[in-house]
């Protein structure tokens, strides 16, 4: 019957059927509810909130790497943009409340915050600014690269250089952003004292809810017609172009979206750890994000979350228990994945929603 042939049964069915993402979203919501009703020890709450922020960061990278074939080795840049703007907001709010300038401003001999801090004590403005700056930096870098058809490893290397240059810039003390010490000593969050149990729980809940929202949104995106074009672009960009699609626009759009999601992760991360410094811009940290995604399962949003939580959970636990062993354990995990589980840990359960997973950029 021709009418049954005509119904888009495949894509529509697959868009809603992703038990792993659905399960993880449910888990986030349940965990958020549990934190509110019966909060465990504050350090556990804090650890859970940080893990959620890392998971958001991993999803942002998986979106461009797993679904579009663009491996960014500089996603720490967008995470840092979110983190820095959030730190500026927290300090500006403190200055507005107490009138005391942050240490690094006093060391520079300045009598007030630099002009570009204006208005950052308003949370809504800080949020918009963080996302806008991340999106704008991504747009400029992406536009220049994608228009000149810079792809594959070349793009990865340039993205790495970009995060490195940013780190050198942020190590300078005259940027007005804390220099090599970074920014810390955040006194308040929305008028509440930082570090109080309520604030810790609130931040963790916010991170979990954001993760649930980001997972739901990105899952809908990759299950849509745009998601199918992303996979098509990943597997054969020339073919897609010769069918009449502007792949530059597609890549640029998703690239900017990914950068803004990474910035969101940074915004949620910084108040939970209470510090930001240029170390988040170190190239090895950006590479580590790719490791989380590869370990969990490239090209599967749930895999990125699992990878981020597993690696960072292990890190929280082992870097305290036996800090000198951690680099070896991480390297061992990478080797295990590369040699035994080329599609990440999700291979263990044979969970493969789509049959052909090409790894990364060609």
């Amino acid at each position: 019957m021709p009418t049954t042939l005509a119904t888009p049964a495949g894509p529509a069915r697959r868009a809603v059927r992703d038990p792993l993402v659905a399960g993880l979203v449910g888990l986030c919501l349940a965990a958020a509810a549990a934190l509110v009703v019966a909060p465990p020890a504050p350090y556990l709450v804090n650890a859970l909130g940080q893990l959620a922020a890392f998971a958001i960061l991993a999803v942002s990278l998986d979106l461009v790497w797993g679904y579009l074939g663009i491996l960014s080795l500089g996603h720490g840049l967008f995470f840092a943009i979110g983190g820095y703007v959030c730190a500026m907001h927290l300090l500006a709010q403190g200055v507005a409340a107490t009138g005391v300038l942050p240490d690094f401003v006093q060391f520079m001999g300045w009598t007030r915050l630099p002009a570009y801090w204006t208005g950052l004590d308003h949370a809504a403005y800080a949020l918009v600014l963080a996302l806008a700056v991340a999106g704008l930096v991504a747009f400029v870098f992406g536009f220049a690269s994608f228009r000149s058809r810079v792809n594959g490893v070349y793009f990865s290397i340039i993205s790495q250089a970009l995060v490195y240059v940013s780190m050198l810039l942020m190590y300078r003390n005259d940027t007005g952003l804390g220099g090599n010490n970074g920014m810390t000593g955040f006194p308040l969050l929305f008028g509440w004292p930082m570090g109080s149990p309520g604030v810790v729980t609130g931040l963790a809940v916010a991170a979990l809810l954001t993760l649930a929202g980001v997972l739901t949104g990105t899952r809908l995106l990759v299950g849509s017609a745009i998601g199918r074009r992303m996979l098509a672009c990943r597997d054969d960009e020339t073919r897609l172009r010769t069918l009449g699609y502007s792949t530059t626009r597609l890549k640029l759009g998703i690239w900017c979206l990914s950068a803004m999601i990474a910035a969101l992760a940074g915004i949620l991360y910084v108040p939970q750890v209470g510090i930001i410094n240029p170390r988040v811009l170190a190239p090895d940290l950006s590479i580590e994000i790719a490791v989380w995604v590869a370990i969990g399962g490239l090209g599967r949003l749930g895999g990125a979350v699992i990878g981020a939580i597993l690696v960072n959970g292990l890190k929280f636990w082992l870097s305290a228990a036996m800090p000198e062993a951690w680099p070896f354990i991480l390297s061992g995990l990478v080797l295990l994945v590369v040699l035994v589980l080329p599609n990440g840990l999700l291979d263990l359960v044979g969970w493969r929603p789509r049959p052909t997973w090409l790894r990364g950029a060609p």
């Binding site: 894509p11 098509a232 010769t242 069918l243 699609y245 792949t247 049959p355």
Partner: protein
């Protein structure tokens, strides 16, 4: 009016001249085959027409007004040119249906797509395989799927790069029948192929390329009789 005019086209890669002042004109409704030994410049010609390679000099006119050498691949595709690549270029992670849907192009309204896709599935004989990921198809099925993808946008100019490479005799005959069925007064088809029997079956006229130059243009029977063509290609 002609469907496609290639006018004094020269393409060089470094010091190597892949196409040397090649000209040809294809009429609407015509099936033109471009033949020639390896390295003759056949695929380069298609690369220029589809915008993947830019020429050193010369023009490629689609209809009377559009110079394809000035356009991007996506713009050329929007102007009504579709290309089937030599290696079957389908999207392995997407199903047959999803491949065809992308083949419809960005311009076709969503409500018109299901009917178009259903018709195409029938035409290329993959109706029963609609929900199968393209990566799992057999070689011949991939070739047909790609033909379906390039037909989905109803192209005015269809470029086929070795459409029967690697196909069995039966599949070759089926493909020849399919291409003959694609002839329309408002559509020009340009085929590159090594298989002479196939070319004879589908083409109205042939252009023989050799080392980047046009050696012969005319009927297939004339090509078989031409002394220079026999020397470089048919005679061996």
């Amino acid at each position: 009016m002609t469907a496609l005019v290639v006018d004094a086209l020269t393409v060089a890669f470094g010091r190597f001249t892949a196409l040397d002042c090649v000209s040809l004109a294809v009429d609407p409704g015509e099936v033109r085959a471009v033949i020639g030994p390896n390295g003759a410049g056949k695929t380069t010609l298609l690369d220029v027409i589809s915008g993947i390679t830019k020429p050193v000099s010369g023009r490629v006119m689609l209809g009377d007004h559009v110079d394809l050498t000035k356009r991007s691949e996506a713009e050329i595709a929007k102007a009504g040119v579709r290309r089937k690549f030599q290696e079957p270029s389908v999207f392995p992670a997407l199903t047959v249906r999803e491949n065809l849907e992308i083949g419809c192009g960005p311009a076709l309204p969503a409500r018109d797509r299901p009917a178009r896709i259903a018709a195409l599935l029938c035409e290329i004989g993959l109706g029963a395989r609609a929900e199968v990921p393209a990566g799992r198809l057999a070689h011949g099925e991939k070739q047909w799927l790609e033909i379906g993808m390039v037909l989905a946008a109803e192209p005015a100019l269809l470029l086929l790069d070795e459409p029967v490479a690697g196909l069995s005799d039966t599949e070759t005959a089926q493909t020849a029948a399919l291409i003959r069925a694609l002839r329309r007064p408002d559509r020009a088809i340009l085929v590159i192929e090594h298989d002479m029997a196939f070319v004879e079956a589908v083409a109205d006229r042939v252009t023989v390329l050799h080392e980047g130059r046009t050696l012969y243009e005319g009927s297939m029977a004339g090509a078989r009789a031409d002394a220079r063509v026999i020397e470089v290609f048919l005679g061996r």
